[in-house]
Symmetry: C2
Subunit: 346 residues, 2 copies
C-alpha cells in the first residue's frame, strides 16, 4: 500500500447540497465540473441525483459525455463552455445542453442541431464568458424564439459579499433579461448565500457542495490519509530532503510519507503545512518532493505511526490552501490520480 | 473541442534518453514514476524500451503493476518505496523489484517472497528513504547473501553540482558499499551530469528524459495548446475575471481559453505567465480560474485566434515553473486529466 487513501464522504456531500437547497428559494442544481472538483463526477453526480438534484453543470462537452454515461438519461447536463467547434456530435448524441456564449456559438448550435436544447450565457461584467449587452441586444429576439432552457450569468466576486461588483452584476442581469419568460440563473455558492435577490429560477452551487468556503456552514467531504514508508532518528544538525532544506535543531524523528506534489500536495505549501496524527500536528520537514514528504514526528507518542492525515477534522481544504497561498478549490482539483478513492456514506 | 491538446514528443524523449545514455559510463535506466512525470508511463515506457532501456523505476507498487501490464514481461521494474505492507501480491504477481528501505521491509520481503528479486536502498544523508549506516551494518551480511539486484542511494542536491553535499554523499556511498559485488546505483539526471565518479553500475535519469533542468541540453517533450472559447473587446477601466483582478488600462481584447488550475495550470502563475500565438507573447489577464483563463490578445494581428500555446518552443516547463514559483517537475506532474493527449514521433 504505497499510495494514500482519499476518502470522500457522500453523506456530507448530500448534506451540503440539501443545506444549500434549503437556502435557495428555487431549484438547486449541482456543479460537477473538473471531475466534481477532483472528487469523482460519476459517484458525486449519482449521489446528488439520488438526493434530488435534477440539473448538473460541467465545463466541457467531454465532461458532459462522461457524466451522461455515468448517470444515464434523465438529468439535465449543462455545458458552460457552450457549443464549441467539434462538439456537435457529443452534444447531440449525449443529450447535453450547451450554454451558448456568443453569436457564433448560437448560430453554430441552431444550424447544426435545430430544436436541440440550449441555454444562453450573458456577460454581466466578469468579461470571461457570455454575450455582452450589445451582442445580446442584436440576437435576443432570434434567440428567444428558439426557447432557450435557461439564461445565465456568473458572479465575479460572490466570495466577497460586500464587493460592489455583486449588486452591479445583479442590476445588469436584470436589465439584460427584463421581460423574458425563460428561466434565469445567476447564483453560484456565494450567490446563494447573498440571498433571494440572487436566486432567480435556478441556483448553481459548486464549492459549497464540497465543503469549501464561502459556505462556512458546510461539512468537509474529503479526507486524505497518507501511509508512512519509514521513520528514522536524526541528530541535531542533520538535514532532510532535496536541497537540505530542513536542518534538525534538536534530536528529531522523521517519517517519510508516500505522497508528494505529483499527488497534488502543492509544493508551495512545504513551509507551512502540517500532517496530523489524530489531534497532534506534525510539521512538514524540508521540501515536498514528487512522491514523498518528510514529516517531523518527534512530538508523537507513537514512534512508528502507520499513516498521517493531510486532510481531516483538524485541517480542511481551506486551511491547507492558506499554507499553499491559494484557495480551497485548487486543493481539491489538484488531488491526484494515484490515491485509492474510498466513498463512504450517501 | 472544449479541451486542450497536450502533445508528447516521443522522438524528443528518446533523444534525451540516448543523450543521457551516451553520457553515462554504464547502463542507463529510466525513471517513469508519477505516470512518467505526467506524460503517460505506458507510452513513455514502451518508447524507451524500444530505444533500448531495460530497467525502469516507479514510486509505488501500484504504478509498477500498471507499467507491467503496459510493457509485458522482460523489463526490470524497480519500486522506490520498497516492499510496503499489502504489496506482496502485486510484487510477486507482477514481477516487481522492491528497493527495500529498512530492516523491516527486508525481512518482510525475504519472508513473504523468498528468492524473489529485490534491491536495497541506503540513506547517504538525504534522510528520506533507505537504511542508515548503523542499520545497514547490522543487516549487510544477511542481505548480501540474498543477492540483491542493486544497491542504491539518492542524491539530495544533484541539481546544484557545486553543493558540498554531493561529494559527501558520494563518499558515504563508497564507505557503505566498499567490497560489495552487487551492482550499485547513485545518479539521477544531475548525478549523470556530474561525471563518471557518480555513475557506478546503473544511472537513473528522470527529469532529464522529459526535457527539464538540470539537463540544459535536453529537448522539450511536452507542448500544450489551449483552445479559445471566445474573444471580446474591453474599454479602458473594464475588469476581467474573479475578484476583478485585471483592469484594462487601454482598449483591450481578451480571449477566454479552455484550461485552468483544474488542468494543472498552477494558479500561482497568474501574475507572471504568458500564452503564445506563434512567437507573440500574450499575458494572462486576471486570475486563473478552474477551467478558464483570460488572456490579453490586444497585440495580436489575428483578433480571433483558435488556440494559444502554454507550453511550446517559446515557453518551456522551466520558464513556466519560474512564473509559478516552483520547478519544472511540478509543472509536468500537474498536467491534468482533461487534456487530449497526442503522442508524436518515436
Amino acid at each position: 500500500m504505497g499510495t494514500a487513501t482519499l476518502s470522500i464522504d457522500l453523506g456530507a456531500l448530500i448534506a451540503n447540497w440539501r443545506a444549500l437547497d434549503t437556502r435557495s428559494t428555487t431549484e438547486t442544481a449541482a456543479v460537477v465540473k473538473a471531475d466534481a472538483y477532483g472528487l469523482g463526477a460519476d459517484r458525486v453526480g449519482r449521489a446528488l441525483a439520488r438526493a434530488g438534484a435534477r440539473t448538473f453543470f460541467v465545463a466541457a462537452a467531454e465532461e458532459g459525455a462522461a457524466l451522461r454515461r455515468a448517470m444515464g438519461p434523465g438529468p439535465v447536463i449543462n455545458v458552460f463552455s457552450g457549443h464549441m467547434r467539434g462538439d456537435t456530435d457529443m452534444i447531440g448524441d449525449m443529450a447535453l445542453t450547451p450554454m451558448t456564449n456568443s453569436f457564433d456559438q448560437l448560430v453554430r448550435h441552431i444550424e447544426a442541431l435545430p430544436g436541440h436544447p440550449f441555454g444562453i450565457q450573458l456577460d454581466t461584467g466578469m468579461n470571461r464568458l457570455g454575450m455582452e449587452a450589445s451582442e445580446w441586444a442584436a440576437v435576443r429576439d432570434i434567440a428567444l424564439q428558439q426557447n432557450p432552457t435557461v439564461i445565465m450569468s456568473h458572479l465575479a466576486c460572490a466570495d466577497e459579499p460586500d464587493h460592489t461588483m455583486n449588486a452591479q452584476q445583479l442590476t445588469t442581469f436584470h436589465e439584460m433579461t427584463e421581460g423574458i419568460n425563460a428561466p434565469r440563473s445567476l447564483a453560484n455558492t456565494g450567490g446563494i448565500l447573498m440571498g433571494a435577490d440572487y436566486h432567480f429560477d435556478l441556483t448553481r452551487p459548486g464549492i459549497g457542495l464540497y465543503g469549501g468556503l464561502p459556505f462556512a456552514d458546510g461539512t468537509p467531504v474529503a479526507s486524505l490519509s497518507v501511509p508512512v514508508i519509514q521513520c528514522r532518528d536524526l541528530d541535531e544538525g542533520e538535514t532532510v530532503g532535496y536541497g537540505n532544506a530542513f536542518t534538525a535543531t534538536r534530536p528529531t524523528r522523521i517519517a517519510t510519507i508516500a505522497a508528494g506534489y505529483a499527488d497534488g500536495v502543492i509544493r508551495a505549501m512545504g513551509h507551512d503545512a502540517q500532517l496530523y496524527a489524530d489531534d497532534i500536528a506534525c510539521p512538514i520537514a524540508g521540501r515536498i518532493s514528487m512522491d514523498m514528504i518528510g514529516v517531523d514526528i518527534t512530538d508523537l507518542d507513537d514512534p512508528n505511526p502507520k499513516a498521517l492525515d493531510l486532510l481531516g477534522p483538524r485541517q480542511g481544504i481551506d486551511t491547507l490552501a492558506e499554507a499553499a497561498g491559494t484557495i480551497g478549490y485548487e486543493i481539491l482539483t489538484s488531488l491526484g490520480a494515484r490515491y485509492n478513492r474510498r466513498y463512504v456514506g450517501g
